[in-house]
Symmetry: C2
Subunit: 171 residues, 2 copies
C-alpha cells in the first residue's frame, strides 16, 4: 500500500483481539516515533509502555475504560518540559510522533486508538505512576490486534479546508 | 518501502531543484493531511498554498529565507481557533497532520522542510496575507523536488526515551 493509502485507511481501533503485541513490535513502534521531526531536533517525546495490571488501572481514569482494558498494551507519550524550547511547537512534535506510531501500527496489521480524554486526569496518573518531574503526559495510545475495523470517519471537503490568500502581494 | 523505512528515511530538505510540483501532487499532499487524526475528529487544520511572488515575500520573515525562496511552493498550516476544543490537543492534531503530509511528500520523491521559526512573525504575516480572524498560523511546509538529500539527523537512543513505571501498582 502506498503512503496515501496507508494514511487514508488508518482507523481508530477500539476493539481488540486477545493476542499479544510482541516486544519486538513495540520496539519498532517506538522506533517510528523516535524518527519523527521536531523543532531544532529537540526530540521532546518520552514513552512509557504498560500492560497487565499497570495498564488496566488506567482504565479507571477515563470514560474510554473498555478501550484501555481491551487493548494489549498502552504507550503513554510524555513531553519532557526540560527539553522543551517552545511549548506550541513541542506539542506539534508530539503529535507528529504519535502519528508516526499510529501509521506504523496500522502498516503492520495492528490497530490503535489515540486517547486524549484521559488528560483530564493527568495529575492523578502522573502521581500514581510516579512520573519524574518535568514530564507531562500528552497522549495515550491503546493498541493491539484489531477485532473490529470501523468504517472511515468523516472528513471535511478539501475545498472547505483551503484558505485563499487575499493580499495585495501579487501572485 | 515499508512504513518504518519511510519514516526513518524522511529528511528535512532545504535545497530544491527548479522543477514544479503539480497541482495534482499538491492536492494529494493536502489529502494526506486531511485524513489525519484529531481529537473528537474536529479537523482543526486549514491550509494555504502559495507560490511565486506570494511565496517569496514570506522569505523576508524568516532566517531560513533561502529555503522558502528555493522551494517550489509552500503550504501554510493554520489552526482554526473557532473549531478548537482543546488547544494542546489541537496543536498535536496539527502536528499529526503535518507529519502525514511530510511522509506522503517523501513517499513520492518530493522533499519538504517544516519551518517553525517563521512563527516569530506570525502577526505580521497573518496581517499581510489578510488571514481570516480565528486562524492561527502554526507551520510552514516548504516543498519541491530535492536537490540535496542530507544524511540522517541524530536521534537519542530508545533506552533514553523510555520511562519505567515506578509505582505500587503491581505489573
Amino acid at each position: 500500500m502506498d503512503a496515501l493509502g496507508l494514511i487514508k485507511t488508518r482507523r481508530a481501533i477500539r476493539r481488540f483481539k486477545k493476542e499479544p503485541v510482541s516486544d519486538k513490535q513495540i520496539e519498532a513502534i517506538l522506533e517510528a516515533g523516535r524518527w519523527s521531526p521536531s523543532g531544532i531536533n529537540n526530540q521532546p517525546w518520552r514513552f512509557m509502555v504498560l500492560d497487565g495490571v499497570r495498564k488496566n488501572f488506567l482504565a479507571e481514569y477515563t470514560v474510554y475504560s473498555s478501550i484501555v482494558r481491551g487493548s494489549d498494551k498502552v504507550i503513554l507519550v510524555f513531553l519532557d518540559r526540560g527539553e522543551s524550547y517552545h511549548y506550541e511547537k513541542d506539542l506539534m512534535a508530539i503529535g507528529a510522533c504519535v502519528q508516526s506510531m499510529l501509521l506504523y501500527i496500522h502498516s503492520c496489521g495492528l490497530g490503535a486508538c489515540w486517547l486524549g480524554e484521559i488528560l483530564n486526569k493527568r495529575a492523578e496518573i502522573e502521581k500514581l505512576l510516579a512520573i519524574p518531574k518535568g514530564l507531562e503526559m500528552e497522549a495515550l495510545i491503546a493498541l493491539g490486534k484489531p477485532a473490529i475495523i470501523p468504517k472511515a470517519g468523516k472528513r471535511m471537503l478539501l475545498k472547505d479546508l483551503l484558505v485563499r490568500p487575499k493580499t495585495k502581494v501579487k501572485g
